[in-house]
């Protein structure tokens, strides 16, 4: 049993080291791809960002609507129901927007990236590129990595905006909170630093989700089972790492 634990630990250390080297290669190659092959990046912003819009907007709306309901029900105990807008804005901009967007991104775009790259590996498409003298890391992985990083902050911002709309619809439209109080209290309380925190988080989560998705696809065992496991792993690991980093960034920002 001790040997099993030791082997698992060594395997983890090996995989972590390999990921770090891979991440460094992604970073080193990113500037040249961003400036010289921007069209490849734009295509991936569309694939990972635009195609994720529906799920982000629908989820954002309902999360905001729930915040409106919960906020009203709980703040009413302290006669502070007018602060529902402030409550929803803080929750969405600083926490739920970046975090839920990252989790949804991992589920929609991350799985698509991991399985696409894994299947390209399984069908020798990546080997074929190498044989044509084209580095798959530069041609396939870096544009997807950059596409995810660019898309994530926008998706998180859209999630928060739609969420606020949902909270407004429930709070003002359904529960009768004064529309002026809803928006004015929010404007008075929310500071630029809060929005910056949300942007920083969504950017960091974009780096995490994109890099883990392309890594899992690239390092997948090139079989149907291997690609399936890599796809699942990309979601699970991204969720864990995002929540750990969320705690760390929040702790630093406070």
């Amino acid at each position: 049993m001790l040997r099993d634990i030791y082997n698992s630990l060594m395997e983890f250390v090996r995989a972590f080291g390999a990921f770090q080297l891979f991440f460094l290669r992604l970073l080193v190659n990113s500037p040249s791809i961003f400036f010289k092959r921007f069209s490849l990046v734009v295509k991936q912003v569309y694939n990972t960002g635009t195609l994720s819009l529906v799920i982000i907007m629908v989820c954002g709306f309902f999360v905001g609507a729930v915040l409106g309901l919960q906020g009203y029900a709980n703040l009413a105990r302290f006669n502070a129901e007018d602060s529902v807008g402030t409550f929803a804005a803080f929750a969405l901009v600083k926490e739920l927007g970046p975090v839920i967007t990252a989790l949804l991104f991992a589920g929609r775009a991350g799985t698509a990236l991991a399985s696409e790259i894994g299947l390209m590996k399984a069908t020798n498409q990546l080997s074929a590129m190498e044989m044509m003298g084209v580095d798959p890391l530069r041609r396939i992985l870096v544009p997807r990595f950059l596409g995810g990083i660019i898309a994530m902050p926008f998706l998180a911002a859209i999630f928060s905006a739609i969420g606020l709309f949902g909270a407004h619809l429930v709070g003002v439209g359904l529960l009768g909170i004064d529309v002026g109080a809803f928006w004015q209290l929010m404007q008075q309380s929310l500071e630029i630093g809060d929005i910056q925190e949300g942007i920083v988080k969504s950017f960091v989560f974009g780096v995490i989700a994109s890099s883990l998705a392309v890594w899992e696809g690239y390092s997948a065992i090139p079989t149907a089972e291997g690609v399936g496991r890599a796809t699942t792993r990309s979601v699970v690991i991204t969720a864990i790492v995002v929540l750990i980093f969320d705690f760390m960034i929040t702790a630093v920002a406070l």
Partner: protein, 278 residues
């Protein structure tokens, strides 16, 4: 046979020299002191039973894998000494046809063939179109230029992959199991194309396969690999006449022989009647 012999006379004629190659995957020794010379201008076939590491050998030659020991010299250069940039430069001189074609599935046939040109050259779209259509015409698929890879049959996909492999005018072509899973017509087409490409483009070809009949019609020189080493070499006719039991089993497709029909297993009776039956 004469071609093979003539090429063996001069060492400088070797395009690829593999010396004392050892490679293992986990506990399994795939190659154990393999020595092969690939001659310029010829079609060299690498044959062997399934699982002997033929495709692994191609991956070693192209340095997609790194050997445990031994040297692989390609056109006078030890490929283990190359950095990534030089390796990719060398690979541009290769053309490789994968077993399943390995076409990029999200772009059309035309774009697949144009892919290396777009990546490595600054040719105008007009010129790229001209070159791509010429290559597709050579494999008889000019009319399929706008199709997607998913719309192609296995044989067509392999022909498109061949057009892509020759679009940069490589110095040598590598074929990984080009005949597997093809109907007789497609197989005949591929056999003719292998010969035609080698002679018309004046290049060298390495062909990995276990289709003995097809190899006999197209290869100038053959190596039979077994147990991690070269078991026999020579022209396909020479291999047909070789006295070795292994070569005879392979060339004539006999079920049992040095390569046993049964995979290593415990005693049959013991296993059926023994305790582990519970």
């Amino acid at each position: 046979m004469l071609l093979c012999f003539a090429a063996m006379v001069s060492e400088s004629e070797n395009l690829i020299e593999i010396t004392d190659l050892c490679f293992s995957r986990g506990a399994r020794q795939v190659f154990n002191g393999l020595n092969i010379n690939i001659k310029r201008g010829l079609i060299t076939a690498i044959m062997g039973p399934s699982g002997t590491g033929k495709t692994t050998l191609l991956r070693l030659i192209t340095r997609q894998l790194i050997p445990d020991s031994g040297t692989i010299i390609v056109d006078g250069v030890d490929i283990s000494t190359l950095n990534r940039a030089d390796l990719y430069k060398l690979r541009r001189r290769f053309g490789m046809l994968f077993q399943n074609g390995a076409l990029l599935t999200d772009i059309s046939v035309f774009e697949n063939v144009a892919f290396p040109l777009r990546e490595h050259t600054n040719l105008s779209n007009r010129l790229i179109r001209h070159v791509v259509l010429t290559k597709l015409h050579a494999v008889g698929l000019r009319g399929a230029a706008d199709m997607m890879p998913s719309q192609l049959s296995g044989g067509m996909a392999r022909r498109v992959a061949l057009a892509r492999a020759i679009v940069m005018d490589p110095e040598f072509l590598i074929y990984d199991e080009p005949f597997v899973g093809l109907d007789p017509i497609s197989m005949g087409v591929i056999v003719r194309l292998v010969r035609k490409m080698n002679d018309a483009l004046d290049i060298s070809s390495i062909l990995v396969s276990h289709d003995v009949d097809e190899i006999a019609t197209v290869a100038d020189c053959s190596y039979l690999i077994s147990d991690g080493k070269v078991a026999a070499s020579g022209s396909p006719e020479e291999l047909q006449k070789a006295s070795s039991a292994l070569v005879q089993q392979f060339m004539h497709g006999m079920a049992d022989g040095p390569v046993a029909f049964h995979f290593e297993a415990p005693d049959y009776t013991e296993q059926l009647l023994g305790m582990d039956a519970d």
